[in-house]
């Protein structure tokens, strides 16, 4: 199968994730959208690895998972902290810093 199919699928997922970041207000959902974008990149890496005939892409995808896992921990910790202070997980609500 032509690898471009997979890559185009990944581009679609990436874009959906990016749009999700823009339209959702719940910080956790926004963050899940970011994770979706990372997953999309992983799919592209995996597809390209097969296309290029080397395993580097798979290794990168593996590292991305590790990185994403740590990022999730830090991100959720920050979101929970904000939630405990403000009793809200809205990304729009902390809006003291502007202009």
């Amino acid at each position: 199968m032509n690898p471009s199919n997979y890559v185009i699928l990944s581009a679609v997922l990436f874009t959906i994730g990016a749009v999700g970041v823009l339209v959702r207000r719940n910080a956790i959902i926004v963050f899940m959208c970011v994770e979706l974008m990372l997953n999309a990149a992983n799919l592209a890496f995996v597809a390209f690895a097969r296309m290029n005939g080397n395993l580097d892409g798979q290794v990168v995808a593996f590292f991305v998972m590790v990185v994403a896992a740590s990022e999730v921990v830090v991100g959720l910790a920050i979101i929970v902290t904000i939630f405990r202070t403000r009793r809200s997980a809205s990304i729009d609500e902390p809006n003291l810093l502007k202009y």
Binding site: D56, E71, I78, P94
Partner: protein, 528 residues
């Protein structure tokens, strides 16, 4: 389904491999600066785990300052090296070493600022316990008992480690990992302010979400480039680009996505909007530290990507970077004019400064690189000095960041106001300060490279920018102090050293920049 089933077969097939496992050749001497810092970070975590509470702060300070000095010595020891190590994934070359050295020295000053606990009567710059709710009884109790969040030190060290790795990374994977190693601790540090914790937490959240968003772009760009070149190694990418006919748009799209991530980190328009919010909300010591060092590290990576991997595509990216640079310079300078919060003003100013450094990038020449490195070093020391002053200017509610409270400061505390003026003049690029030499070297490099109009825009932008820098000076010296005027807290030896060093370097680099310029002229080539 053939391929998949075959590989599953391969997976369950022979576990014992016939091919001998070749150990990678890694010259640990070349990695010494990074290893020292990351190793110190691990030791620092161990201290947090096992040392008694009272002993933690002194132990951490000794460890942090010692490891920074040791790493700097290691960098100096590597001077002149021009090679790669760890299977080509880490470059140890002039620019990398220069950036690492600069990051380490500035981090040392940043560490001194973070260690300060005299200016705030209630403790250091960080929340006594970040987990305690703002305004809660818990929080007051922790503060009253003098708790300190000493975990900031391992975070600080890991951030520095990531910064050392970032400009030295010679493949996109290391670069991505380094980006995250650098950023994650900074997201956390931004949220740990002792005072105005709501702002601080908000800054952390915005920084984190937008940072994660931008790194997704970076990663996707890396994926597309890997798809084209079959490797994430920068020199290999360059070879592939010159080897294959490069008509395919996938490289352009990949490069564009990659640049989104990198331009975000340097705070270039239109990826700049996190900067003012984060700079304002984060604890000032952290702001000073990261404003200076992240910019150096991120520019190091940006230069390496654009010069090593995509140097041959200069005519593709240069026009786009022109527009980005112009927007960055003008928008940063213009918005800064109407700011009333000094930290926010410096944040917009840092955006404008990023634009000026981009001018050196666009020159795409060794002179441009050397000029930009000089600029970055000058900017770094000036910025951390300016933020050091901000930590000291206080009123009853902590730092007095509103500009109106700075009116007449020159009368009340002439020395501090003079130092701040020196930093402002340097940022404005007035002669005999480091900022002037930086601007001059960047601009001449750009003119030589034929970007004369860009330089004219840059000079006009610096004219606009000079206005708000000088406005602060005028405010401090040309207005009478009133009861709103903040007072300058007497700092301990930590801030004093940091401030004195930043001011000295700012002036010395303006009067005798020659040694540094020579050094940079010998270090303006990337290893390929």
């Amino acid at each position: 389904m053939t391929a998949a089933s075959m590989s599953v077969q391969a997976l369950v097939g022979r576990f014992a491999t016939d091919t001998p496992f070749e150990l990678p050749v890694i010259d640990y001497r070349l990695l010494m600066p990074i290893l020292i810092i990351l190793g110190a970070g691990v030791v620092s975590v161990v201290i947090e785990a096992f040392a008694p509470r009272r002993a933690r702060r002194p132990l951490q300070l000794i460890l942090v300052l010692g490891s920074l000095v040791a790493a700097f010595i290691a960098v100096v020891g590597l001077a002149g090296t021009q090679t790669t190590t760890a299977a080509g994934s880490i470059a140890v070359d002039g620019p990398a070493l220069v950036m690492q050295g600069a990051i380490l020295v500035i981090a040392l000053l940043g560490g001194l600022l973070m260690a300060e606990r005299m200016v705030d009567p209630s403790g250091d710059a960080f929340a006594p316990r970040a987990s305690a709710l703002p305004g809660s009884d818990d929080e007051r109790q922790f503060a009253a008992r003098g708790y300190l969040q000493t975990e900031v030190w391992p975070l600080f060290l890991f951030a520095v480690g990531g910064m050392l790795l970032f400009p030295a990374s010679n493949d996109l994977l290391i670069m991505f990992v380094a980006l995250e190693v650098m950023s994650l601790p900074l997201y956390l540090l931004a949220g740990l302010a002792r005072r105005r914790r709501l702002l601080s937490q908000e800054a952390a959240m915005k920084y984190f979400l937008l940072g994660a968003f931008s790194s997704a772009f970076f990663l996707y760009g890396a994926a597309l480039i890997y798809g084209y070149a079959g490797s994430v190694d920068l020199p290999v990418i360059a070879a592939q680009l010159s080897g294959k006919p490069s008509e395919s748009a996938i490289v352009l799209i990949g490069l564009g996505m990659l640049l989104v991530g990198l331009l975000f980190k340097i705070g270039a328009v239109p990826f700049h909007q996190w900067t003012p919010d984060v700079y304002q909300g984060a604890p000032t010591a952290v702001t000073g530290f990261m404003a200076a060092t992240v910019k150096i590290a991120a520019f190091g990576a940006l230069f390496r990507v654009l010069y090593v991997a995509f140097g041959g595509m200069r005519w593709d990216w240069a026009p786009m970077m022109w527009i980005v640079a112009i927007l960055t310079m003008l928008i940063g300078s213009i918005i800064a004019i109407t700011q009333t919060d000094i930290k926010r003003m410096l944040a917009y100013s840092s955006i404008a400064q990023a634009g000026f450094i981009l001018v050196g990038l666009i020159a795409a020449s060794p002179a441009g690189l050397a000029g930009a490195m000089f600029y970055l070093i000058a900017y770094g020391f000036t910025t951390i000095g300016a933020f050091a002053v901000i930590t000291m200017v206080r009123d009853g509610n902590g730092e007095a960041t509103h500009l109106s409270k700075w009116a007449g400061l020159g009368k009340k505390s002439p020395l501090v106001a003079t130092l701040f003026s020196v930093f402002m003049l340097s940022l404005a690029g007035i002669p005999l300060t480091s900022g002037f030499i930086g601007k001059f070297s960047v601009f001449t490099a750009a003119i030589e490279a034929g970007a004369g109009w860009l330089v004219i825009v840059a000079v006009v932008a610096s004219l606009i920018a000079a206005f708000f820098y000088v406005r602060v000076i005028v405010l401090m010296f040309f207005s009478e102090p009133n009861d709103q005027t903040a007072t300058v807290a007497i700092p301990s030896v930590f801030t004093t050293i940091a401030l004195a060093a930043a001011a000295t370097i700012t002036i010395v680099l303006g009067i005798v920049p020659q040694p540094l310029i020579e050094l940079l002229a010998n270090a303006d080539v990337f290893v390929r």
